[in-house]
Structures are given as C-alpha cells and as structure tokens.
C-alpha cells in the first residue's frame, strides 16, 4: 500500500468496514487475536515518529504478529548504507510486511520495487500518508454516517503536507468536496488541478463546512521564510472559536497531530469535546492499521480486493 491515489471506492469502503470490526475488540479487555501469528512486520522509520510507529506496532501486536522496530538513528543507514541496500538486507530476512516512513517523496515507491514483501507507506516526504487518510475517513464516517456530499476544509501548511494530498484523493474518491485553505506561500502550484477549491482566507474557506482538518506548520521542511511569524500565522490561520463560528454549527475539528497549540490551533478548540475528534482519530488509527495489515498479509487478501 503506497498511496490512496488510484484506489477504488470499493477498496476504501472495504478497508473501512474491516476497520470497524476492530474498534470493539480494541475497546475490550482481551485485545489480542492471532490472525497474523507467525508473520513478521518490520517498522522502518527513517523519520522521527511517535504516534504512527506506535500505532502500527500496537496494531500488528494485537493481531499476533512479531514486530521489529528498526531504529534508523543507530542502524547501518548512519554508516552510509543506501536506502536500497537497507531494503534488500531486510528483505533477505523474509519479513511479511515492511512499514516505511521516509523524509523524501517517492522513497517508499523506490524501496517497494526492490523487496518482495508487502510495503506499507507510513508517510513519504510530501507525497502520501495513506493510513492517515483512512483513519480520518473512518472517524468522519462514524460521526456522519458517510463521506458523500460533505464539505471538508483542509487548512494550513498544504505545501509540505502528505496528509493533505492523501486526504484530497480519498475524500474526493468517496464523494466529498474539498477546500484547501492557507497562505499562498504554503499552497503548492496548480493544486486546483487536483479538483479542490483554493482559499487564502479562513473566513471564506470555512464557510458552511462540515469538517475542518487542521495541519501542522511543518517548519522543519521549510527553507527560508514562508510566513513572517508564528503569531501572525495564528492570527490569520490559527483555528479558534471565533473562526470556527463561520463553519456549520455541528462542525468536526480534526488534526493529524502532533499539534502546535497556539500556532495552528487554539487550545480551547483542540480540547472542545463537542467539536474536536482529535483523540478519536488516534484510536481509529490502530483499527485502520489492523485492517490494512490483515487485508495485506492476513491471507484474506481477496476479501478486500486489490488493496495492495
């Protein structure tokens, strides 16, 4: 699973249905099943991550798989080994799945060409983060019943966000309308060709939306000045109750995390239990990743169609 782009609505619905089945299991005392007993999953994270890596680890363990976390910081990568050599070395150990995160767009595609096990993209540069989009969809679907016809605003640092790209694909495949809202300097060229409405102002961008997805300002990916200051960014693009009034009264607020409170989101909004589903997203993340692992290496591949 390398990205959302190109998946069919049936595949996505199938994965979401399968995810649903794990939510209750995850809430019960006995969380473990042995569907993936004897399978090996390697978490290969070239970029720091707490929630995604932990989420994949929890998901795989709850299905009974053996999980190995590769800490790239202390591995041969630091000794100058190339990405493909690392991939082929791990491949020789015959894992069933490798979960990869990398700071460069396309790195996971490249790696997948050199191994003969399942590769799951856990985020590649500014390209895609498919399981994040799936967990967002699951969260929305449980709250709203369906994605069809919803108006979703994705706000903030669109340029540097793989979450935005995966969500743009998924939401549109499932029949939602998507707006992207942010300062022009953080808007990628020709983003409108991906079928989205572009807004540079939160006041027009949030009008009548059903869902607001906030994105983190990814200062670590920025070379030079994209916005003059954090306080100016918060003033114009930070989500607070005032701006949220423009949206529909029952609007849901989402954030892929980690949040920068006081930068892109006000604490009052983030902690508003009536609106914010941010923690629910994290919970859904485990269920979605269990579903992906089961569909891809659980021997029930055909049940979900061509998800791989």
């Amino acid at each position: 699973m390398l990205g959302i782009e190109g998946l069919s609505p049936e595949t996505i619905s199938g994965l979401l249905d399968l995810s649903e089945s794990y939510i209750d299991q995850n809430r019960s005392i006995d969380k473990r099943r042995d569907l993936l007993s004897g399978r090996t999953v390697i978490n290969l994270f070239f970029e720091n991550s707490t929630r995604t890596r932990t989420s994949f680890e929890v998901a795989a363990k709850r299905l009974g798989a053996d999980v190995i976390n590769m800490d790239v910081a202390t591995s041969s990568v630091k000794k100058g080994e190339t990405l493909l050599d690392t991939a082929m070395t791990l491949n020789a150990m015959r894992p069933d799945a490798i979960v990869v995160r990398h700071s460069e767009s396309g790195a996971v595609n490249l790696l997948s060409q050199k191994v003969n096990c399942t590769v799951i993209n856990a985020g590649d540069g500014q390209h895609e983060h498919p399981t994040q989009a799936l967990l967002d969809a699951l969260t929305i679907r449980r709250r709203r019943g369906s994605l069809q016809g919803l108006l979703v605003a994705i706000c903030g640092d669109i340029m540097h966000s793989r979450v935005a790209r995966s969500n743009i694909h998924l939401l549109q495949i499932m029949g939602a309308r998507v707006r992207v809202v942010g300062p022009p300097t953080l808007m990628p060229t020709d983003i409108d060709r991906m079928g989205v409405e572009v807004h540079y102002n939160m006041r027009t961008g949030l009008k009548d939306v059903d869902i607001v997805m906030m994105l983190r300002l990814q200062t670590e990916r920025m070379q030079g000045s994209f916005v003059p200051s954090v306080s100016e960014y918060f003033r114009f693009y930070g989500l607070d109750h005032e701006k949220l009034k423009i949206a529909k009264p029952d609007v849901l607020v989402m954030h892929p995390g980690p949040m920068n409170r006081g930068v892109e989101i006000d604490s009052e909004v983030a902690d508003d239990l009536d609106r914010s589903v941010i923690h629910e997203q994290v919970e859904m993340g485990v269920a979605v990743r269990m579903a992906c692992l089961e569909a891809l290496i659980g021997g029930r591949r055909n049940a979900i169609g061509a998800a791989a």
């Binding site: 782009e5 190339t82 990405l83 493909l84 990398h102 460069e104 767009s105 396309g106 790195a107 595609n109 490249l110 590649d124 540069g125 500014q126 390209h127 895609e128 793989r162 790209r165 990628p188 060229t189 020709d190 983003i191 060709r193 991906m194 070379q223």
Partner: protein, 450 residues
C-alpha cells in the same frame, strides 16, 4: 541494434577515398542531393551531385554508400565526462567511443570536473588525451569563474591560449550580475564566446518543474520563470557590454520569445537546447523516474511545443547532447537525492531526427542545428561540407527503426532519459579526418569490400 565496431588502429588511407552513391546533406547550402564526396589527405577534396556520376575512376578507393545519407559529422558543444575526477562514471575514452557511435565528430567538454578546468594545464590534458584516444575530436571549455563559484573571473586569456574554445560555468548559473557583466566585457578582448545556463539560482532549487505533476508527486518545484528571468537579465548585459553570449539548454516558451526579440534587435545572442526539452515533458518523471531528473528540469507540454517551434524558426540555433553520465549509486536513490543529468551522445541524432520525421524541420536544417552552426559559433574546423574542410562525416540510415535500450548503450553509465524509446535513424559510419572510427555491422561488409 547499435552493434558495430570502433576502429582505432587503422591509419588514414594514404591516397584518396570516394564515397559514392550517397544522399548528401549540405547544411550551409540548405540542400540534399544524390552525389559523392572525395576525401584526400583527411580533407574534403571535392563533392557534389555530378562528381563520379559515371562511376568512380580507377585507382581510387571507393565506398558505395548504398543511398544512405552522408552529412557533416555532429558537433556537440555540451558534453560532460568523468575524467578527471569521476572516471567510474565516464572516461574521455568511453565518451569518445559513445560519440563515435552517435555520429559525433567533434565535442566540446564541459569544465565542471574535479578539478574544474580553471587552469590551463587541464585544457592541455584534454587535448593530450584526445590525441591518444584517436576517436572524435575533443575540445574543452575553460571555466568562466574560478572553481565555477561565480565570484572571480578565471584566467580566460591563458585558458584561451591553451586551447579553450569558449567559457562557461557549466550547470552553475552565474547569479551575480556584476560578475557576468565583467566576464562579457573582458571576453571582448579575445572575442571569446561565453556560454551561460540561465537559471536564477534562488528560484531553481526545486527538483522538478513547478506544476500539477510536482504537486501530485510531492516534489519541490523550480518554476519556468527562473529561466526567463536570467535570460532577460543576460540579454540586457549583452546589450550593455557588446559581448558574445550563448545561452544553453533553453527549456521554456517564454525564453524562446524573449531570445527571438533580442535577435530581432540585432544583439549578439545565440542559444541551444537539448533533446529532452523538445522530445519529453514533465510526465517523464512520473513514478519518480530519476533518469528524467535533469537541469533544467523537464518542463510542461506547452513548453516542449514552444521549443520545437523555436528550433523550426531558427530562434534556437543549436542542439547539444548535454551528455552527463551518472552511475547507479547516483540515480537509484529517492528522487530529491538523485544526481541530475542524462547521457545523450548516442541518442542525439536519432532523437533529433524525430523533428524531421514529424515534418517540423528539413534534414539540412537539422544539420545546421547539429553541425554547421555550432561549429561556426565555437569557431571549430568541422561541421560543414567545403573543399579543404576536415573530412568529418557521418553516414546514417535515416529510416532505420530501433528501440533505445540501456543494455545496448556504449557509454559507461546507462542513465538515458530516452531508455526504451522507439526511434528512427541510426549511424552506419563515422569518419573523422578521413578515417573511419566507427562502422555499424550492417554497413561493415560494404566498407570492407571497398
């Protein structure tokens, strides 16, 4: 397909050789006709439609060209090899072989090696190696600035004396206008040609051209604007200094427009492009294909069409191979980390012939862009049909259909952006100074029988 022989040991035939029954392409006369060429002592002694019309005279060695096209050999003014510094990617010898197979009889080598050619001894080194290798004629650029850093002028006078045919900082644009201004002024003393890659450095840091494709792939973009901004600046500097400037690797529609206007005003500005910019667009980097990562980046389809138009109208004077070998370690990495550049010596003619097959330009016009005009601009002896000119010729089958395949490539590295492309046109023999340096298997029997 490209199976043939490199011929190095054979001394030039002492007497005369007649190439009869050929379709001769004369770019300067703008004609194609059936005829013959007579070579004596490494030079063109005679040529024309009526020469040997009733058969070659007895006592002269003659080669039956079987109706194939015979033209001045290609003059490629932009090629990089790894020697010195990165011999594992390409040596002068392996580049010479690839050039011979590609029908290139003269090549000008870029100065961005390790060490860079900012010292006269390196220009002499290239000349000495070329004499040893005995294939294609090799010339070298001198660096425009010390260390190609764009700060201080290199010793242009001394480099010119050592044989540097022009000056450039290769794929590094000179961002500092004052430096380029002084270079253009200073070069006037030697009437030296300055070759510049116009890409505004502060805007061209992206890994591919800006646009929908870059946004979808999540790759950083270099806008087409980065090119035309420097084209416009450079033209103003030419106007101010009266220097001679050649802009290299033009890739955008806007640049073509601006250069056409500058030429109409009588400024001494010329330019070139490379096959990727008229034969490919940014779709070629889809799926993160690093062989398509080039400098400047592959542009949109609209830009590609404008480059074809520029070649047709003559705004773009020359076509260069922009040969830049990269090994697997440099290309089999994530796109943003991959080294830019593609090889081009062996594919220069067949890919450029697409312009002829598509009816965009005529064969003589193509050989103006590939041979006679670059030779004239760089003041090189080859590239034309004239009595007394060096017998640097290419014999090719313009209709031969084949598929570019990395396993058939003669270059040391295989990073062709045209890998797996079906093309039409293949070199059958390459002649430098009257000596056949390459002969394709299909043509070998005829040459041997002669």
């Amino acid at each position: 397909m490209t199976s043939g022989n490199i011929l190095r040991g054979t001394p030039p035939h002492a007497g005369s050789t007649a190439y009869i029954n050929a379709h001769i392409i004369d770019p300067t006369a703008d004609r194609v006709y059936a005829g013959a060429v007579l070579i004596s002592d490494g030079k063109i002694a005679d040529f024309g439609p009526n020469l040997f019309a009733s058969g070659a005279p007895y006592g002269i060695q003659s080669v039956d060209c079987r109706g194939l096209h015979l033209a001045p050999g290609l003059v490629d003014t932009r090629a990089h090899t790894g020697e010195p510094g990165e011999e594992h990617k390409e040596t002068l010898e392996s580049a010479g072989i690839a050039a011979a197979v590609g029908g290139i009889t003269s090549m000008v080598l870029l100065p961005d090696n390790e060490p860079p050619f900012d010292d006269a001894s390196l220009i002499e080194f290239v000349a000495r190696r070329a004499r040893q290798i005995k294939l294609t004629n090799m010339y070298a650029y001198g660096a425009l600035t010390v260390g190609l850093e764009g700060k201080e002028l290199a010793e242009m006078g001394l480099l010119a004396e050592a044989g540097a045919v022009a000056f450039t900082d290769a794929d590094h644009a000179v961002g500092n206008a004052q430096v380029l201004r002084r270079a253009l002024y200073y070069a006037k003393a030697f009437d030296a040609l300055i070759v510049h890659l116009p890409q505004e450095p502060t805007l061209s840091g992206g890994t591919m051209t800006s646009g929908e494709m870059a946004t979808r792939l999540g790759l950083s973009g270099s806008p087409p604007l980065a090119e035309v901004m420097l084209v416009e600046r450079d033209i103003r500097l030419v106007e101010m200094t009266g220097g001679r400037l050649h802009l290299s690797k033009i890739s955008t529609a806007e640049s073509v427009k601006v250069i056409a206007a500058a030429k109409a005003r009588g400024l001494r500005v010329t330019c070139d492009t490379a096959p990727p910019y008229f034969a490919l667009n940014d779709i070629a980097v889809g799926d993160y294909r690093t062989f398509g990562k080039l400098v400047p980046p592959l542009r949109s389809e609209k830009d590609r069409q404008a480059i074809v138009e520029g070649l047709k109208e003559g705004t773009i004077d020359c076509i260069v191979s922009d040969h830049r070998p990269q090994d697997q370690d440099s290309k089999r990495v994530p796109f943003a980390q991959a080294e830019p550049g593609g090889i081009g010596l062996e594919t220069l003619l067949p890919v450029s012939l697409e312009l002829v097959h598509n009816g965009e330009i005529t064969l003589p016009q193509l050989f103006q862009r590939l041979a006679s005009t670059p030779a004239r601009l760089f003041n090189l002896p080859g590239g034309r049909l004239a009595k007394g000119a060096p017998a640097d010729l290419v014999l090719f089958d313009s209709d031969y259909a084949w598929k570019i395949d990395r396993s058939d490539i003669w270059s040391k590295t295989k990073n062709s952006p045209f890998d797996e492309r079906p093309v039409q046109g293949l070199v059958m023999a390459t002649i430098v100074g009257g000596r056949t340096i390459y002969c394709h298997d299909n043509f070998a029997p005829a040459a041997a029988a002669a």
